[in-house]
């Protein structure tokens, strides 16, 4: 399962969902659904979000299995 830190990083950048959505060229609903983990974005959108939040894509998204392996 794809996990993310979108909400946390968005808050760190002081972006609203609407502002981040504009940066990534999607709707506010898409940002909300990704944050809730109800929608997995495409690689293109994940890269756009990482770019908008000025971070590495791996910092923003990771697979739950990988997370468990680290622990």
């Amino acid at each position: 399962m794809l996990k993310n830190r979108l909400k946390e990083l968005r808050a760190r950048h002081d972006f609203t969902q609407i502002e981040l959505a504009k940066h990534a060229g999607v709707t506010r609903q898409t940002i909300g659904f990704i944050e809730k983990g109800e929608f997995s974005p495409s690689i293109t959108l994940a890269l756009k979000l990482a770019h908008a939040l000025n971070c590495d894509i791996n910092e923003l998204f990771w697979l739950e299995e990988e997370d468990n392996n680290e622990k």
Partner: protein
Amino acid sequence: MKNDMRITYPLWQMGAILLMILFTLLYGLSSYITNSILGIIFLLIIVYLVLLFWNIAKHNKRMPNQKITIFSWKPQEYMDDDELFQEITKRATKKVYSYFVWSIPLLAGLSLGLSLGTIAVIVALLLLSFGQYLIYYREIRKYMGADE
């Protein structure tokens, strides 16, 4: 999303289908049709059309980038705004597809087995169509309702 008519558009289609079912049933039972009944049906159709076009005009004014037009082959309830909406539309249309995969052969079998008359088959087809919009609407609401 609350004011997005693309979400409620299937309900309008369901309303039109109910009117068609009513008309078909009355046509089938033609001995009961009187001029006053016909008048009521046409009045209902006119009220429906006025309300539909009024709501479409309101939607198009509010959302000029996602206009609804009834003169298009593309179902107006499809939402392609971005990849989330495409995914939701895909999930809903997949459910509708699964529904038709089973319901059409079942109806064909019932029509043959029970020797259903023309009116009964037409009403059954209209009911299938009603079910299609109901499934689509419920699936879309599952996602969009949670967003409101």
